[in-house]
C-alpha cells in the first residue's frame, strides 16, 4: 500500500499586505528557497503541484497556468489543485498522491496568493463565492458566514467572547517570533474584546489580515529522501472531505467535514487516539473561533471543550498540545493557499527541531496541519511524523 513520501525542503516569502512582486515572482522566491533547503535543483524534480485559491484575487483567469513558470513547472507535469481555503494543506495531499502512486519520484508543491491585486478591497471578491442565483443578490460578504457560524458555535456551547479571544492573543503573540509575519504586535484580551465590531460576534482582532505571499515544499519518495537529508519528515496520513454546498441546511456548530478528513488521515497514519498521538497542531485559524472549532473537529478535544484547553494554557508553546506555534493566520497572515502550506512548513520545522524561537517545549514526533475553506465546507488534513 502506497509508497512512503517525505518532505525534505521548505521555503516561504514574507507575508505582506501588498507585495511589489508579481505572483510568479513570489512563487519563485518560495520555490527557490525550498530547493535550496534540501540542496536540490529544479532538474531533479519530476512534477509540480500548484495550489492557489480563487483566480479573482490575483485577477488572472487560469491562474494555475499563469503561475507555473514561477513555480518551477516549465517543461514538467504540472497540476493545480483547488479546494478554496483548504487548498494549502490539500496541495500536500495532492503531492502525496503523485509520489505514493509510484509514478512520480519528486515533486514541488507551491502555493501562492496575491490578494492585493483585487480592487478596491480583496474582501469584496468573496461576494462571488455565494450561489449566483439564490444568495448573491442579497450582497453577502465573507464576514456574514463566519459570524453566522461563530454565533451558532457560541450559542450551542454557551461560550463567551473572551473564551474565543484568547486564541487571537496567543497566536498574535506567537507570530512575534516568525520572520515572515505580517502583523507583529502584541495584543491583550481587552484589545480584542474592545476592537470594533465588524459583524457581531466578529470583531476586528478576531480576524486574520488579507495578505500576499507564497510557500513551497519539496516532496520526494523514500529513496531520494534518505539521500538528500538525515531528517526526512514523513507524510503519515492525508485526508480531505467536502460537505454539501447547501450550507444553510447544515448545523454550523460542528465541522463534521473536518472530522471526516481527520478520520481519513488518522486511519492512514495509524493514529487511534489523536489526543495522545498528535504532539503539535496547526489548525486553520483565519478567525480565532475557527482554531477552537477545528480542534474539536480534529478530535483533539471534546465538542465545546477547546476554549477551556486554551484558557488552561495547554495550547501555548510550552503546553501539552501546542496549537499554532507559528502564530497562525491571525499573526503571520492569510494569503489563503500559502497560509495553509505555511502551517505544514511549521510542523516540518517543529518536528525537525528547527523552529528557532518558535520551537515548542515538548518533544514532538508527530504533528498535523489542517485547513478549511469554501462555504464552511471543506476540511483538509495532513499528519506528519519523524
Amino acid at each position: 500500500m502506497g509508497r512512503k513520501v517525505a518532505i525534505v525542503g521548505v521555503g516561504m516569502t514574507k507575508f505582506v499586505r501588498r507585495a511589489q512582486e508579481t505572483g510568479k515572482e513570489l512563487a519563485f522566491y518560495a520555490t527557490k528557497e525550498a530547493l535550496n533547503y534540501c540542496g536540490m535543483k529544479l532538474n531533479q524534480i519530476d512534477a509540480v503541484v500548484i495550489g492557489s485559491a480563487p483566480d479573482t484575487f490575483d485577477g488572472v483567469h487560469m491562474k494555475g497556468e499563469y503561475l507555473l513558470d514561477g513555480a518551477g513547472g516549465f517543461n514538467k507535469p504540472t497540476l493545480r489543485c483547488f479546494v478554496g481555503g483548504g487548498t494549502g494543506v490539500f496541495a500536500v495531499a495532492c503531492g502525496w498522491y503523485h509520489i505514493a502512486s509510484g509514478v512520480i519520484d519528486s515533486c514541488l508543491v507551491v502555493c501562492e496568493e496575491k490578494m492585493s491585486s483585487y480592487q478596491p478591497h480583496p474582501q469584496a471578491a468573496f461576494l462571488t463565492i455565494f450561489d449566483h442565483t439564490t444568495e448573491r443578490p442579497l450582497k453577502p460578504n465573507l464576514l456574514w458566514i463566519f459570524a453566522l457560524e461563530m454565533n451558532r458555535y457560541m450559542t450551542t456551547y454557551g461560550l463567551k467572547k473572551e473564551d474565543i479571544a484568547r486564541v487571537a492573543v496567543k497566536n498574535k503573540r506567537n507570530a512575534l517570533d516568525h520572520p515572515s509575519a505580517q502583523l507583529k504586535e502584541e495584543v491583550t484580551l481587552e484589545d480584542v474584546l474592545n476592537s470594533e465590531v465588524l459583524a457581531y460576534p466578529v470583531q476586528r482582532l478576531d480576524v486574520s489580515p488579507v495578505s500576499d505571499g507564497a510557500c513551497a515544499i519539496v516532496m520526494v519518495n523514500e529513496y531520494i529522501a534518505r539521500r538528500v537529508t538525515s531528517k526526512p519528515v514523513w507524510i503519515e496520513g492525508v485526508g480531505w472531505a467536502l460537505d454539501t454546498a447547501y450550507w444553510t441546511n447544515r448545523d454550523l456548530a460542528y465541522p463534521r467535514y473536518v472530522e471526516e478528513a481527520a478520520r481519513m488521515a488518522y486511519k492512514m497514519a495509524g493514529v487511534t487516539n489523536p489526543r495522545y498521538d498528535i504532539h503539535v497542531a496547526e489548525p486553520y485559524d483565519p478567525f480565532d473561533y475557527k482554531e477552537l472549532h477545528h480542534m474539536e473537529g480534529l478530535l483533539l478535544c471534546d465538542r465545546g471543550e477547546a476554549p477551556r484547553m486554551t484558557a488552561d494554557g495547554l495550547t501555548e508553546r510550552d503546553g501539552e498540545l501546542p496549537v499554532c506555534p507559528s502564530g497562525g493566520l491571525l499573526g503571520v497572515g492569510n494569503p489563503i493557499a500559502a497560509a495553509g502550506l505555511m502551517k505544514v512548513i511549521e510542523i516540518f520545522l517543529q518536528l525537525r527541531g528547527e523552529a528557532g524561537k518558535r520551537q515548542i517545549a515538548r518533544k514532538a514526533k508527530r504533528g498535523l496541519a489542517q485547513a478549511w475553506g469554501d462555504l464552511m465546507q471543506v476540511g483538509t488534513v495532513v499528519v506528519l511524523g519523524i
Binding site: 485559491a53 507555473l68 513558470d69 516549465f74 507535469p77 463565492i129 472531505a241 467536502l242 454539501t244 492512514m268
Partner: protein
C-alpha cells in the same frame, strides 16, 4: 496496479441547454455513469475529482458547488483547474496509491451561459505585458497558425480539410452539436477572425457534462463486463509566457506523449494503436498535435491527413468529429474525447463505429494561452 474505466455518462452536446442547470446536467451524466457499473456513489466511491475554472463558471471557489450532484457530499472531493483528462490522470494516481478503489471524474461546460467569452479569455493573458495591448485572445492563435504555415510550408487549405473531415465525422455522431457537410469552398468563404485563422477553424462552445468512474484492477471486473484499461498516461506544461515559448515546437506535447507511450510500452504509436481522439480546438492544432504526438511527421502530414485520417483510413483521427464537430466543452473537452474513444473500444459507437478499435490515444490541450497538455492510452484488453 492497473486502472480501468468502468462507467461513463454524458449528456448529448447541444449549443444551448436551457432546461437544465449545470448541477442538473451533471446529475444526469452521473446517474448514467453510476448505472453502467451498478454503484451507489454514497457508499462505493472513495474519491471525486472535478475539473473546472472559476471564470468559466462565473463563481469564485467553484469547487464549493461540485459534490452534491455527484453524490459526493462529505467525502473526499477536490477540483483541478485543468482539462478533464488531467482529472483522469489524477484519479489514476490516487488509485495507484492503493488507498482508493473507485474514483469519479467530472467536468462540464455551460458555454451558452457565458455572455462574454472573449472578455473572459483575455483575463487569462499576462496582466503586465500582454493584456494592456487590449487584443482579443484570437491573436495568439493567429500568430501561431501563421508561424505554423510558414515553417511547415503548408497551404491553409489543409486546415480546411481538417474542418471538413471533423464536421463530416460528426454527422454520424448523435452526441455532436455541430455536424455539417462542408466543402473547402465553405471553408474559404468563412470569415477571417485573425489572419490566417477563420471562423471555421475554431471549435464552437457547447453545453454538456461528462462523468467517468474509474476502478482499481481488483474491483473493475466485478463492476463491468467491458472495462477499458488505462495503459499509459502523461501530462506536461510548457511555458505560459508567450515571450519565452518556442513557437515552432510543441515539446510539451512530445514530453507528455513520451511519458504515456513509455508507460504503455508503445514504441510506434501509428502501428501499435488503432486510432486517436486528439485536441482540435483550432483546426491547425490537430495538425500540430499529430506531429508532436508522433503519429505523422512533417513530411507526410498532408498525405496522412488526406489518406489515413478518415474513418475508413489506416489511422482515423477524431472519428467522433472532434471539438470542431461535437463542440468545445471547456474543461470537459478531454473527457469528451475519452468518452468517444471508449465507445469505440467497447464497440458501442453505433453509426460511427470503426472496424478496428481496440486501443487508442486520447489527447487534450488546455487552450489559449497555455502550453498544457495531457495524453491517455486506453485499451480494451488488460495486456
Amino acid at each position: 496496479m492497473k486502472v480501468a474505466i468502468v462507467g461513463m455518462g454524458i449528456t448529448p452536446l447541444r449549443p444551448l441547454s436551457p432546461d437544465l442547470s449545470y448541477k442538473e446536467l451533471v446529475f444526469s451524466a452521473a446517474v448514467k455513469a453510476y448505472n453502467e457499473c451498478g454503484i451507489n456513489p454514497r457508499k462505493d466511491v472513495d474519491t471525486f475529482i472535478t475539473c473546472a475554472e472559476d471564470y468559466n463558471e462565473g463563481t469564485s471557489i467553484f469547487d464549493e458547488y461540485t459534490p452534491d450532484q455527484l453524490g459526493g457530499a462529505l467525502k473526499p472531493n477536490h477540483t483541478l483547474t485543468q482539462d478533464g483528462l488531467q482529472g483522469i490522470i489524477a484519479a489514476c494516481l490516487q488509485i495507484k496509491t492503493g488507498y482508493f478503489n473507485i474514483a469519479v471524474v467530472e467536468a462540464h461546460a455551460k458555454s451558452s451561459n457565458i455572455l462574454t467569452p472573449d472578455g473572459i479569455a483575455m483575463c487569462a493573458l499576462d496582466p503586465i505585458y500582454i493584456r494592456p495591448l487590449n487584443l482579443s485572445s484570437y491573436f495568439i492563435a493567429g500568430l501561431e497558425f501563421n508561424r505554423f504555415l510558414h515553417s511547415s510550408n503548408l497551404d491553409p487549405a489543409i486546415c480546411g480539410e481538417v474542418v471538413v473531415k471533423n464536421h463530416r465525422n460528426a454527422l454520424k455522431n448523435p452526441y455532436a452539436a455541430f455536424p455539417a457537410n462542408l466543402t473547402l469552398d465553405d471553408y474559404f468563404a468563412s470569415e477571417v477572425l485573425s489572419f490566417p485563422l477563420r471562423k471555421l477553424d475554431v471549435s464552437e462552445g457547447a453545453d454538456g457534462a461528462c462523468v467517468f468512474v474509474l476502478a482499481c484492477e481488483s474491483v473493475a471486473d466485478s463492476l463491468t463486463k467491458k472495462p477499458i484499461w488505462i495503459s499509459g498516461f502523461g501530462w506536461n506544461s510548457g511555458t505560459p509566457n508567450l515571450e519565452t515559448r518556442n513557437w515552432d515546437e510543441l515539446s510539451y506535447v512530445e514530453k507528455a506523449a513520451k511519458m504515456a507511450y513509455d508507460m504503455a510500452g508503445i514504441r510506434n504509436p501509428r502501428r501499435e494503436l488503432h486510432f486517436a481522439e486528439i485536441d482540435d480546438t483550432f483546426s491547425y492544432k490537430e495538425l500540430q498535435h499529430l506531429q508532436a504526438l508522433g503519429i505523422a511527421d512533417r513530411m507526410e502530414i498532408e498525405s496522412f491527413l488526406k489518406r489515413e485520417s478518415y474513418p475508413e483510413g489506416s489511422f482515423p483521427i477524431n472519428p467522433s468529429g472532434g471539438s470542431l464537430g461535437m463542440g468545445h466543452l471547456y474543461e470537459a473537452t478531454g473527457l469528451l474525447r475519452l468518452y468517444s474513444a471508449c465507445l469505440q473500444l467497447r464497440k458501442e459507437a453505433g453509426s460511427f463505429q470503426l472496424p478496428k478499435s481496440d486501443c487508442a490515444l486520447v489527447h487534450s490541450w488546455r487552450g489559449l494561452p497555455t502550453e498544457s497538455t495531457a495524453c491517455v492510452i486506453i485499451s480494451n484488453k488488460r495486456s
